[in-house]
Symmetry: C2
DNA sequence: TAAAAAAAATGATATAGATCATCTGTTTTT
DNA sequence: AAAAACAGATGATCTATATCATTTTTTTTA
C-alpha cells in the first residue's frame, strides 16, 4: 500500500452545479426568491469562521480558498473553483456557525441561499438530500486526501501535488497563469514561502517545469506526478 | 484567533445511535432483515480501504480506529466508540469502495447493514437523510479539528489533546485504563513512539498526569487542556 | 517616472522531532 | 520454565524544514 491513492488533494473533483436540477419547479422558485448574488473582489472574505451561518454559498464564478484560522498560520482545507457549494457543514443542526473561513483568490461571484430554506428542501426532497450527501462525501474524500498529503508527504511531494492538482482540476492545462503568490502556495502546501521558492527552483533546474513569473508550464507531468505520489 | 476552537479532535462528539428512530416501523423492519451482527476480536480489521463497500457499519460495542493506509505509517483519522456509524462516506454514488480502513482496539460488535438498503432509505425518508447529513457534518468538523491538530500543533499539544480527548469523550473520567500501546498513541498523534514516551515522562515529571502502566490519571486537567490549546 | 512597497530569491543558521542503538522489564509462545 | 517476542524507556545522532537576514526583482502608488 502506498500513497498513490491520494492524488490531487487540493480541490474537490466534480462540480455541485447541477444539484438544483433535482428540485421541483416550485422548489427552484423558492430558492430563487431566497437568494442574493454578491460580488467579491480578489482577497475579500466571503465568510468568516465562527460567525453565524445564515447562508449557503454557491460560487458561480471565481476561485476561493476554504481555510481554518490559526495563529500564526491558517490551514487551507481546499481551494474551490466555480460551480461549487461552500459552507455545507454549517447545515448541521448542532452548529449554526461557519466551520471555516472562505476568501477569494480572484474576483468572484457568489449566490447566497438562505440556510433555513436550504434545510427545508433537504427535509422535503429526499433525492436532493441524497445528492447533497454525495457532495459532502466527495468533500470528505478530498479533505482526507489533503490530510494525508500534508501529514505524510514531504515538501517535494506536497508541492508536486499542488502543481498537478491546479493543472488537472482548476486550469485543465499543463500551462497556466497562477493567480497565487509563492506565499499563497506556501499556505496551500503547509510550507514556508522560502521552501516553495527553493523547491520550485529545483523543479525548474531539473527541467520538470518551466516558470516565468506567474506562468507555470509543466514539462514532465508524469515525473511530477511520480514525485507527488512518492511523497 | 487561536487554536482553542479545535479541542478534542480525536473522536466524534456525539453518538449516531438514535438515527434509526427516525425510520418508520416498516423501514426498521427492512433494516433488521438486511443486517448481520458480527464480532471482531481486538486488533482485527473490520473494513479495508479500497475494498468494495457493500455494508454500512454500526458499531454496537467496542472501540475502533478509522485510518488511511500509508507506507511507512498509516494516518489515523478518528477513533470511534460504540453507537456510531462507520463507513458513511462510501455511500457516495461515485465511489463504492471504502475510503479508509477500520480496525478494533478492543473486542467489538458491529451491525453490518446492506448499503443499497441504506441508500434506499436515504432516498425515501428525508428526515432520516437529514439526520445522516448531520452526522456527516459532525464527522467533517471532527476531521478538520484533527487536521488542524496534526498540522499546526507540536508534540506536547498533540499528546495533551489526545489525553484530554480520551478522558472527555471515551472514558468520561480523569482516570482511565488505556487500551492502547505507546505505539498506538504515536499513530494517533502522528509522532514516534519514543516521542510519546518522552513527553509522557515530561508530563509525569511536571505532575500533570500520573502514569502506571496502562493506567492514566490526569491530575491537572486544566493545565493539560491549556497545553493542548496552545499547541 | 521616481519612490515605495511587495514579492521573489538566496545563503546562513537554528531546531523540533525522527531515527538508531541499546537496555530493561513484561507478556506470549513453546 | 525457558525462550522468544514485545512494550517501555533512554541517550546519541541526524535531518528536514523553519526562521532569519539580506539582496534583487517586480508591481503599485504617488
Amino acid at each position: 500500500m502506498n500513497t498513490h491513492l491520494y492524488p490531487n488533494s487540493c480541490v474537490v473533483p466534480t462540480s455541485a452545479g447541477n444539484c438544483f436540477d433535482l428540485l421541483t419547479e416550485d422548489e427552484r422558485k423558492i430558492v430563487e426568491d431566497n437568494m442574493v448574488e454578491v460580488f467579491y473582489k480578489k482577497g475579500e472574505i466571503i465568510c468568516k469562521q465562527g460567525s453565524f451561518a445564515s447562508k449557503i454559498i454557491f460560487l458561480s464564478e471565481g476561485l476561493v480558498k476554504v481555510y481554518l484560522e490559526g495563529s500564526p498560520k491558517n490551514l487551507v482545507l481546499a481551494i474551490t473553483p466555480a460551480n461549487n457549494l461552500v459552507g455545507l457543514p454549517s447545515i448541521y443542526e448542532g452548529n449554526n456557525t461557519f466551520l471555516y473561513s472562505v476568501s477569494s483568490y480572484i474576483d468572484s461571484w457568489a449566490k447566497l441561499i438562505d440556510i433555513n430554506v436550504f434545510k427545508q428542501l433537504l427535509r422535503q426532497n429526499a433525492s436532493f438530500a441524497s445528492k447533497i450527501i454525495d457532495i459532502l462525501n466527495e468533500n470528505t474524500a478530498q479533505a482526507y486526501a489533503r490530510f494525508f498529503c500534508l501529514t505524510r508527504k514531504q515538501l517535494h511531494g506536497r508541492l508536486a501535488d499542488i502543481l498537478m492538482c491546479l493543472s488537472d482540476r482548476i486550469f485543465k492545462s499543463l500551462e497556466y497563469d497562477l493567480p497565487l503568490s509563492r506565499s499563497d502556495l506556501g499556505d496551500l502546501t503547509g510550507m514556508s514561502t522560502e521552501s516553495v521558492i527553493r523547491i520550485m527552483k529545483e523543479f525548474k533546474d531539473d527541467r520538470l517545469i518551466e516558470v516565468s513569473g506567474k506562468n507555470i508550464n509543466i514539462l514532465e507531468p508524469e515525473r511530477v506526478r511520480k514525485i507527488s505520489e512518492l511523497g
